[in-house]
């Protein structure tokens, strides 16, 4: 699965897609393939919370490991994708689409500049294999 060219990526394998001031956050296809089948997912924040870059957003457990999704941006949480709670599979099947985790209203859009482009992230992942 190729990394969408209009998304930005963090070194910790989260993606961000920005529309206006609102960032949608998920984890990359590389991340889900490393984790393998997700068996549990828990949100660690609520809508309305202020989060800073690096804060834990979601806890993921797979048959192989447990991982935390950290926030690639700072801002206010607008919405959680609660539908995922009944659809863990989406993280494995459609990481860039259906499996978005939450939307954040950016408080510091300049943070996006430090994230990687899709191409840079693809190379970054290749370098780890």
């Amino acid at each position: 699965m190729s990394n969408p060219s209009n998304y930005k990526f963090a070194k910790t394998d989260e993606w961000v897609s920005v529309e206006g001031k609102v960032a949608t956050v998920g984890v990359s296809d590389y991340a889900q393939s490393q984790l393998s089948d997700i068996v549990y997912l828990e949100f660690l924040v609520d809508a309305g919370d202020d989060v800073s870059q690096g804060d834990s957003l979601v806890s993921l457990e797979s048959v192989k490991a447990a991982a935390e999704v950290t926030s690639p941006v700072s801002g206010k949480v607008l919405e959680l994708n609660e539908a995922l709670l009944d659809d863990f599979e989406a993280v494995n099947k459609d990481p860039f689409g259906r499996a978005w985790f939450l939307k954040v209203e950016l408080s510091d859009p300049s943070e996006l500049d430090a994230l990687m482009s899709a191409d840079a992230y693809t190379k970054y992942c290749e370098g780890r294999e």
Binding site: Y40, A65, E68
Partner: protein
């Protein structure tokens, strides 16, 4: 003393690290602390030591010597000899943590059976492999609730009739949580009603803790109470006496979220206060947040039934710093004892023991209520414990009773200044009708002045 290395080996090791004698290893300890005078008596032979200890222990009086009406969280019950015989088997007695399922199927299955029995007794979906005792189980329930709301709800509401020591344990666990507010059990005049507790509940409340039967022995229906607690989204935890559940409606029927309790009445000896057993059961919803260890049943590659520690991401193996609680010790042998006890008695046996307790306690209450100067306080139903108002201070009365080989009830003024001259009496199946009549006779005698 047994030292496994030889003198030559020790010297070799010292030489390697550039020291000449063992004492040099302690040179960083200030000299005056290095070899303190211990002021111990001369060593004695094993025979002498045995006799010394025997003299000391024979100064105690136990429930073998006295008629015991003392309860308040730990109860004198009959334990079938087969409990001890079964748990003394080497495979159980010396088993260590079953990390390696290939060689621990017996221990794992025993824990699984224990969990199943506790879940079925409390009516809850899932039980963990146990905690230390009723107090630490209660504290762990509060830890669960605190983390469930990610620290955003900062109020715990504790019933004043949750065991005083459990309340202490909860407060000890939460020392240093500055924003946390533990309310509900403050000193007061008169009795606290469940309505008094409900007034304290709001959207900042993480957990509401009640006891069933409560510390004063009373049985209450918490169904409506539970729905009010749930209206504000708080967690309802109920601490139980598991033996009473042989007779009473399980707390699951009140829609309790967490059920904890002291497992001692289920085949565990009094033993001067421990080791006991912390029961901990919850709704399915909290299975990932359950503290402690959990054993699950599964099948191996060939389809054979097997048991493993499961959902361990909750505790220390993977996400240690993110886990609800890092406690993973359980009372393996004691939990097994309770599982053996419950299995031996079965559903009808447990009911029978509970009924015996209930009947005897009610006979005792009935007889005492007829005594001049005494009053039975419990107007609501009770199980095997009830409160009487006494014409003399309880401590005074108890020392008089002791002269007649009776271990009197618990002095409630220890924990409840508003309950001066109030005694909590426990009557178990160990007490005969003659014992009760004897108590009544002596109570009359020592207060007839």
């Amino acid at each position: 003393m047994f030292i496994p290395s030889t003198e030559t080996e020790r010297n070799e090791m010292l030489q390697r690290i550039g020291l000449s004698k063992v004492e040099d290893l302690f040179s960083d300890v200030p000299e005056k602390f290095r070899y303190p005078e211990l002021n111990l008596p001369e060593g004695v032979s094993e025979l002498e030591a045995y006799q010394n200890l025997k003299d000391l222990s024979s100064a105690n009086e136990s429930t073998d010597d006295l008629i015991c009406f003392l309860g308040a969280g730990a109860y004198n019950h009959y334990i079938p000899s087969s409990v001890d015989a079964i748990i003394s088997r080497g495979e159980f007695l010396t088993a260590y943590t079953p990390y390696q399922p290939e060689v621990s199927q017996g221990t794992l299955q025993a824990i699984f059976e224990y969990q199943s029995l506790v879940a079925s007794l409390t009516g809850m979906d899932v039980s963990n492999a146990s905690h230390y005792d009723g107090a630490t189980a209660a504290a762990e329930a509060c830890v669960l609730a605190y983390h469930h709301f990610r620290g955003k709800r900062t109020k715990f509401v504790l019933s004043r009739y949750l065991h005083p020591q459990y309340r202490e344990a909860i407060k000890t666990y939460f020392q240093g949580y500055e924003k946390l507010n533990i309310v509900g059990d403050e000193e007061r005049s008169g009795f606290q009603s469940t309505d008094d507790l409900l007034k304290l509940i709001d959207y900042d409340t993480a957990i509401v803790y009640v006891q069933y039967p409560d510390f004063l022995g009373r049985i209450q229906d918490f169904k409506e109470f539970a729905s009010k607690v749930h209206e504000v989204g708080a967690i309802l935890a109920i601490s139980v006496n598991p033996l009473s559940l042989g007779l009473l409606k399980p707390p699951s029927e009140f829609d309790a979220d967490i059920v904890t309790g002291e497992g001692q009445p289920l085949g565990i000896p009094l033993s001067f206060g421990g080791p006991y057993l912390g029961l901990f059961a919850t709704k399915n919803q909290f299975i990932r947040k359950l503290a402690g260890r959990l054993v699950g049943e599964t099948v191996d590659g060939n389809g054979n039934k097997g048991y493993v520690l499961t959902l361990t991401a909750r505790e220390q193996h993977i996400r240690r710093e993110k886990a609800t609680s890092n406690i993973c010790t359980n009372q393996g042998l004691i939990a097994l004892a309770s599982a053996v006890y419950m299995s031996l008695l079965g559903k009808s046996g447990l009911k029978q023991v509970a009924k015996l307790n209930y009947d005897k306690a009610h006979y005792a209450a009935d007889q005492i209520s007829k005594l001049k100067g005494f009053e039975v306080i419990n107007s609501s139903p009770f199980f095997n414990e009830f409160v009487i108002k006494t014409p003399k201070p309880v401590s005074e009365l108890n020392s008089l009773l002791l002269d007649y080989d009776i271990l009197g009830g618990y002095d409630l003024s220890n924990d409840y200044p508003e309950l001066e001259n109030h005694m909590l009496l426990a009557v178990t199946e160990m007490i005969s009708k003659e014992d009760i009549d004897y108590l009544v006779e002596i109570l009359q005698e020592v207060t007839n002045d």
